[in-house]
């Protein structure tokens, strides 16, 4: 068969259980293609080999049909069932060849020897940075890589996460909206003329649009067609000014004349509908009575003074008044919602308006989805919380009430046993009679009355003994491990030893990680690595031993406690090494040096 191309009759399946589409499989060095017998079938496809990640096949001799399973790098499986094993064999070899050919360029072979490949300069820089910033890492690197215990690549192979994690950390952080309210940026009033100047930056425009959807809507509707950008904002500022000046009558009058201006002064319809939607979402089980105690409702705006003067509600012109609370609530809602516009888009009013509408659309669809879920959830909640008593079944389940019998029953029986044991151990004789007992007690009292207190109350030597017993307990518990979480055992050691200990721990962890990851030893390379690691570990082991002997006797006990787990971990590794070596020797029999 020509090596350039293979064609076989197959059934294409998307899963093992799929009955399959009969057709032909065409294989070339670059790609594979499936052509169904029925030209109308949808399962026709072409696929390049470099997207194939994995291939599996059924073994000859098993009861299963001869099948080849190719997995693409997106995780999709393509299963082909052949007519016989010979066909499968041919295709299998072909796919293997094609895969190895295409695999050469895009991805490195995943063998352990390829560690010698050169890292990119970017990665090298990153490594340098990491070493500079992390002195512990630097110490480890110096100790192992410079001494040749580990190669540079091995050292970094276990820290891939560190390298990649650093890259992702550099992602941009978006600045949120300012929480200062717009009304705080007051118009500048020129003292000489009656001109009032408002300063509008794109940022302020964004805030206006976000907080007042009606203005945003109006802008989109009128600006390019009916009036210019400047006219629009002049009008808006006029409305704001009227609002500021608290001249509700003037506002009402002007609104009657100018419909665009009225738009700015009237309550926002879009906002209102949104508020209604939000109110529908309020948890129906919320207890409104809970804050009835904080009753501010008799004070307009809670009595807060705005712009230096109190607001007085005038019911007649109410539509043209906005209360501080409304503004405050709306503003905080917008700030909390956050911005979807990047700072780059804050160029001029037009772009801001457009960007805002885009982000809103995305938001809306998401919201609608949420609403569906939320309303379902709400219903569930209501049905759970609402208890309609007359619809409930009776709660009298057939249960037996707890009945504690006379507790004395239990205690008395207990008492008899305990009495027996205590008497047996303490005196073992018959109990004294009541009269005798009380008599002796009275005797001792009158004895004190006559004799007075002992003099001295306590003998000095006894007091000394008691004191030493009490303080001995204290000193022994003070350094007790784990008793006091704030007090570390490590702090009891000189700084040098403490640092050495910590460093040894780090080193041992590093070595062990490499050591255990090298098992099972399958290649000469790993064999050499394990041997290197083993030597390094025995070196640390002897260093620990030295350290233990160097400290003073009062610290040695604590130090031994700390060092023991380290030595145990090392020992376990050594033992495993020896056992593994033994096993290998036994297996290879006459060849003493296994696989070298």
């Amino acid at each position: 068969m020509a090596s350039g191309q293979v064609t076989k009759r197959v059934k294409y399946k998307t899963s093992v259980k799929d009955p399959g589409t009969p057709g032909r499989l065409l294989l070339t060095m670059e790609k594979l293609a499936f052509r169904p017998n029925n030209p109308n079938s949808a399962s026709k496809f072409d696929m390049e080999f470099r997207y194939i990640k994995n291939h599996k096949y059924t073994k000859e001799g098993s009861n299963k049909a001869p099948m080849l399973n190719l997995t693409s790098n997106q995780g999709v499986s393509y299963i082909f069932e052949f007519e016989n094993y010979n066909d499968l064999q041919v295709c299998k070899e072909f796919v293997g060849k094609a895969l190895s050919k295409s695999g050469e360029t895009p991805k490195p072979a995943d063998t352990s020897q390829s560690l010698s490949e050169q890292p990119s300069t970017e990665e090298l820089l990153l490594r340098m940075n990491l070493l500079r910033e992390n002195s512990e890492l630097q110490k480890l690197h110096k100790r192992f890589v410079s001494d040749g215990v580990l190669t540079d690549a091995e050292f970094w192979a276990t820290r891939k996460k560190l390298l990649s994690g650093d890259l992702s950390r550099k992602s941009k952080q978006r600045v949120g909206l300012k929480s200062v309210m717009l009304s705080d940026s007051k118009p500048l009033i020129d003292g000489r003329t009656n001109k009032v100047t408002f300063n509008l930056t794109p940022e302020i425009v964004r805030e206006i649009f976000a907080e007042k959807p009606a203005v945003h809507q109006a802008y989109l509707n009128v600006v390019p067609n009916k009036m210019t950008d400047k006219d629009f904002w002049t009008k808006y500022c006029r409305a704001e000014y009227l609002h500021h000046s608290k001249n509700a009558h003037a506002a009402a009058a002007e609104a009657a004349e100018d419909e665009e201006l009225a738009l700015f002064l009237k309550p926002d319809d879009i906002l209102a509908s949104e508020t209604r939607r939000k109110i529908r979402c309020v948890d129906p089980t919320l207890d409104m009575e809970a804050d009835q105690g904080d009753d501010y409702t008799h004070l307009p705006d809670h009595g807060i003074v705005r712009d230096g003067s109190k607001e007085i509600t005038d019911s007649q012109n109410e539509p043209y008044m906005r209360t501080l609370l409304q503004d405050l609530n709306r503003h905080s809602a917008v700030v909390l919602e956050g911005t979807a516009i990047d700072d780059e888009q804050l160029k001029d009013t037009q772009t801001v308006a457009e960007a805002l509408i885009q982000s809103k659309q995305g938001h809306k669809t998401a919201n609608e989805e949420d609403d569906g879920n939320a309303s379902q959830e709400k219903l569930n909640r209501i049905s759970k919380m609402m208890e309609i008593e007359d619809l409930q079944g009776s709660n009298d389940l057939p249960l037996a009430p707890l009945c504690i019998k006379d507790p004395r029953d239990y205690f008395d029986s207990q008492q008899a046993c305990a009495f027996k044991t205590s008497r047996d151990t303490t005196i073992g004789t018959e109990a004294v009679s009541t009269r005798e007992a009380y008599g002796s007690l009275r005797d001792s009292i009158s004895q004190i009355k006559v004799m007075g207190l002992n003099d001295p109350i306590i003998k000095p030597e006894v007091a000394m003994k008691v004191l030493s017993v009490l303080t001995h307990n204290i000193s022994s518990t003070k350094y007790h491990l784990g008793k006091n979480p704030r007090e570390s055992v490590l702090d009891g050691f000189p700084n040098k030893i403490k640092e050495d200990l910590l460093h040894h721990w780090m080193s041992i962890e590093e070595l062990l990680r490499h050591y255990w990851s090298s098992y099972p030893v399958t290649t000469a390379y790993l064999y050499a690595k394990v041997n290197r690691l083993k030597d390094a570990m025995s070196k640390i082991d002897s260093q620990l031993q030295e350290m233990k002997e160097s400290v003073q006797s009062d610290l040695r006990n604590q130090l031994t406690l700390l060092i023991r787990p380290m030595q145990q971990a090392l020992e376990a590794a050594m033992q495993h090494h020896d056992a593994d070596l033994q096993k290998r020797l036994a297996k290879s029999g006459e060849r003493p040096n296994g696989y070298v």
């Binding site: 046993c417 009679s433 005798e436 007091a463 009490l470």
Partner: protein
């Protein structure tokens, strides 16, 4: 260590409620004579009063049949006894104590044969807590209260519920219960009382040096305790005792209705009468035991 909120109480003034074990059946068997015990305790009480002028000491006798207040330093008259041999504190206290013992004896109805010689710890604990509650309610500036149990009698299992209740109410009102146990074996009640309320439990090894123990461990006020390394308990025995034989067990059967503990399988709970189902397998392995559920 739990201490009372300091703004309510001046921080180094103490109210020490001393519960004195006056169980005659214990003292006749004790290696420490009652007279010696009393003389060391009296000296200790005096030293507490000397530590701070405002310190207050209340002594409650824990008898065999009853309990009573036998001394209160706030209401003590300062006149000396007629022969002037003993200070007022001692003579007053001893006088009251003697009267108490006579009263206690009269209450005794029968010989305590077959009964364990335990004193009424639950009663005196309750009296101490009541007194503390009265002090709490009496004025804006109160001494910091604590309870010191000087106990020698073994635990009275029949008082278990009452003692535990007292311990928990002490915990709630943040009153530490210190205990000095002079009996032969450790007292589980007092160990738990001190552990739960944040007090100190001491079982002196040298009974003739009792005074030194008392002064070293129990004399300091609660505020100073923050700066003192007091003896820590080597461990509190929390193992449960089975209700049927009162043996301490590691693993047992628990009634799922009333939480009574048994060391072996019963057909019926002896406390609440629930009928247990048959054990799943009668050759119960140890690990099987916990999974017992009664069928009511």
């Amino acid at each position: 260590m739990a201490s009372v909120p300091s703004k309510l109480y001046s921080d180094d003034v103490s109210l020490v409620m001393v519960l004195l074990d006056t169980n005659p059946f214990f003292w006749t068997t004790s290696s420490l004579p009652f007279s010696q015990f009393l003389s060391q305790v009296l000296a200790f009480l005096n030293s507490i009063l000397l530590l701070n002028q405002l310190n207050q000491v209340v002594v409650i006798a824990t008898g065999y049949n009853s309990c009573d207040y036998i001394y209160d330093s706030s209401s003590a008259t300062n006149q000396s006894s007629e022969d002037g041999r003993l200070p007022a504190l001692y003579s007053n206290l001893l006088q009251k104590l003697e009267e108490f013992i006579i009263r206690d004896e009269k209450l005794a109805k029968e010989e305590p044969r077959g009964k364990i010689a335990s004193s009424l710890l639950s009663g005196s604990l309750s009296m101490a807590l009541c007194y503390i509650q009265r002090v709490f309610r009496s004025g804006p500036l109160n001494p910091q209260p604590r309870i010191l149990c000087l106990q020698g009698s073994p635990d009275g299992p029949e008082q278990y519920v009452a003692v535990m209740n007292a311990i928990f109410s002490a915990q709630r009102s943040m009153v530490p219960i210190d205990s000095c146990y002079v009996g032969a074996h450790n007292s589980a009640f007092l160990q738990q009382a001190s552990y739960i309320t944040g007090g100190v439990y001491v079982k002196p090894q040298h009974l003739d040096g009792l005074f030194q123990y008392l002064v070293t461990v129990f004399a300091a006020d609660l505020h100073s305790r923050n700066f003192i390394q007091l003896p820590r308990p080597a461990g509190v025995d929390f193992r449960a005792s089975c209700f049927c034989h009162k043996t301490t067990i590691d693993m047992g059967y628990i009634c799922s209705v009333c939480l009574s503990i048994f060391c072996k399988h019963h057909k019926k709970c002896s406390t609440c009468g629930s009928v247990f189902g048959q054990a799943q397998s009668d050759n119960t392995s140890a690990s099987d035991r916990k999974r017992k559920a009664p069928e009511t």
